[in-house]
Amino acid sequence: MGPNAGTCVVVGASSGIGLAVARRLAQSGRKVAMLARRERELMGQVATTNDVLGLQAAWGYVHDVADFAAVEPLFARIEQELGPVDEVHFVAGVMPDVAIDEFDLGKDRQQVEVNMLGCIAWGNAAARRFRERKRGCFVGVSSVAGDRGRVGRPVYNASKAGMDCYLEALRNRLWRHGVQVTTIRPGFVETPMTAGLRLKGAIPADKAAALILRARDRRKAVAYVPGKWWLIMTVIKLIPSFLFRRLSI
């Protein structure tokens, strides 16, 4: 089995960036396990993917990433049904609307569970296997939102920062074993999650998927998607706290 030839897992594949990544992987001839919580949407997308390609390239697995105990057995089941997995994309994420004066632990907890702990559960399950096999690639889709704590969505920022830091540690642990871990920090992307936000200059999800797979191919540690966000976030990270707290960004 050559590089990038085994089964791919895309967690969060029923819409948005995850769906676009799954489609590009399926189009390139890979076997893709598509995972998502919403059964109707997921199974519809699996059926559409196979219909358009005229062959079976996608398999659907209903999965709630906050159900951490289900991750290990599901990983094993996918490998049993589709063959060894050598590529995992963690793209699941939630970003509930949060009012500027709202401090709701329920929403906060959901974001930490899905965005951060979900990534950790899948990262750990992949790491155990990839480390042993001395090959594999784990791509975590974080966000530019993890680069600074901001007034709008404190726990979205925190969950993405936690995920991002975990991915760096995972990369450092695994690179000496020949395993690639790539962190993706998307900026504005047109997806159902961002549909109500009217983001100026947002790129299509398909474009984001193309850039994510390019970062994978170039074995990048961290990639901003699109690349201009590296510059934007470098500037934002340089703003001192006493100034940043006065801004509304």
């Binding site: 489609r23 189009q27 199974m43 519809g44 993917t49 358009v52």
Partner: protein, 475 residues
């Protein structure tokens, strides 16, 4: 006890898409069926007639009500459900074709019937029973409506399907908003096996050649539409460029999956990637006002030869269907007079003779349409149908701000209508602006008009629902 909410109608200028007809009206934008019912009650109390209006894309006076009340349903625009297994959408009337395809295409479905602009609303599309470039194959918009809830002027909410209320179902679709307000519609879409279509361009040397291509291809093509340069005369009368588009089969388009991303379907906002298309209409305005429309048409016709040589090619569904959205606000090129569209529907046997006569007569009268679009149609089961087993030719006329010139255009259209009606032809109220009341029974037949008036008397006996169109036709 609750207070009766005060309904505040806003005084606005309400025009057809072509800007040539319309006038001041009191407008309300409800967001729920309850608000529509309250508005009906309020209108009744004021003793004023109400017009229903969707996205305002009817060219003429189908959604205007000079001096009356207008219920603009564009804010009732929630897409309530889309079933990714069946492709059936449940939506409020203000949901647009764009809202629908953006949702459906992501799941591998495309609306069965779409217009040349994606701005039209579901309520408007059903009430006017719009058609697309596949009318000859899949029929009109009404044929993909599975059910709707109709709120009648007396406040009853009637759930209509083909089986549960066949008469009302077939009268309200295509009934130009005369029987009630559709507050919720169930719309079927169709499976597509790629985000793209295979498109071919064919140069047609005259009107007969165009009709021949339509006949030759209608058995196998999915979409057929011809752009006509109506400035061509003699042997080149009715010359144009036919576009045929076909669905792709599963596995046929290796890149078809990623084009299901709705963002890749949208019409590009810039010309050559840099010039915002919103800035193009002043250039087109200049072409209209210095009398160079003939030259623009000729250049487009010549460019058709190159396109024909380079076809077939693959194009997204959005880019193929929504030609009218390529240049935002293009209708402004006809300011200040605006535009009207004259679209006769002619039975197949009379097609060549009648269309030739219509084009020749408008050229002789000095009113040459700046745009002509030819399509193939098939009959449908709706009471106020405009469809025939034959052809339609949509002709866009710029309206002069000069009254004498405007009046002569109206007279011309009425004379052209005589030719069409004598041949058993029909008209379409989403486009019409000039038809006379005496022509109304001749379009549909005395029997159909009597049946429609009976439905009107049953569901809206006080004639609360009226538009400038319904008064002009004496509905």
């Amino acid at each position: 006890m609750t207070d009766t909410p005060v309904i505040s109608w806003r005084d606005e200028d309400v025009r057809g898409f072509g800007m040539a007809v319309g006038g001041r009206a009191q407008v309300l934008r409800p967001t729920t069926a309850e608000q529509v019912a309250a508005a009906f009650a309020d209108a009744r109390a004021r003793g004023k007639a109400v017009a229903l209006r969707g996205a305002g894309c009817s060219y003429g006076d189908a959604a205007t009500n000079n001096g009356g009340l207008v219920l603009d349903l564009s804010h009732m625009n929630r897409l309530l459900d889309f079933d990714p297994a069946t492709g059936v959408a449940v939506c409020e009337p203000g949901v647009t074709v764009r809202d629908l395809w953006r949702r459906s295409v992501a799941h591998g479905f495309w609306p069965r019937v779409v217009s040349g602009t994606m701005a039209v609303s579901m309520g408007g599309a059903a009430a006017m029973n719009i058609h697309g470039k596949n009318n000859f194959a899949l029929g009109s918009f009404g044929e993909c409506v599975r059910s709707f809830d109709l709120l009648t002027p007396r406040g009853e909410l009637v759930h209509c399907t083909r089986a549960s209320a066949p008469d009302l179902f077939h009268a309200a679709i295509g009934g130009f908003g005369m029987l009630g307000c559709m507050t919720r519609l169930e719309i079927e879409t169709k499976r597509v096996h790629s985000g793209r279509l295979r498109v071919s361009a064919i140069v047609a040397k005259d009107i007969e050649h165009n009709l021949q291509i339509l006949e030759d291809m209608r058995g196998e093509a999915d979409y057929l539409v011809s752009w006509l340069d109506l400035h061509g005369k003699g042997a080149e009368l009715g010359r144009g460029l036919m576009h045929r588009a076909d669905q792709l089969r599963p596995g046929e388009d290796p890149d078809g999956l990623r084009f299901l991303d709705p963002t890749l379907q949208d019409v590009p906002p810039n010309l050559f990637g840099v010039v915002p298309k919103g800035w193009l209409w002043p250039g087109m305005w200049a072409a209209v006002h210095v009398g160079q429309v003939g030259l623009v048409n000729w250049l487009k016709f010549r460019a058709g030869f190159t396109e024909a040589r380079n076809s077939p090619y693959l194009q997204t569904h959005g880019a193929f269907h929504f030609l009218l959205d390529y240049v935002p606000r293009w209708q402004w090129m006809t300011k200040p007079g605006g535009l009207i569209q004259f679209q006769p529907f002619v039975p197949k046997a009379e097609g060549a003779r009648v269309l030739r006569a219509v084009i020749e007569k408008s050229q002789a009268a000095g009113h040459v349409p700046y745009l002509g679009v030819l399509k193939r149609h098939r009959p449908d089961p709706f009471l106020m149908t405009h469809a025939v087993d034959g052809y339609s030719l949509a002709m866009d006329f710029a309206v002069s701000a000069r009254k004498s010139r405007r009046d002569s255009l109206w007279r011309l259209c009425q004379e052209l209508a005589e030719i069409v009606l004598a041949a058993g032809g029909r008209f379409y109220y989403a486009k019409d602006a000039t038809l006379l009341a005496s022509s109304f029974p001749r379009v549909h037949g005395e029997g159909a008009v009597a049946a429609f008036r009976a439905q009107k008397a049953k569901w809206d006996p006080d004639r609360l629902l009226q538009t400038d169109l319904s008064r002009r036709l004496g509905v």
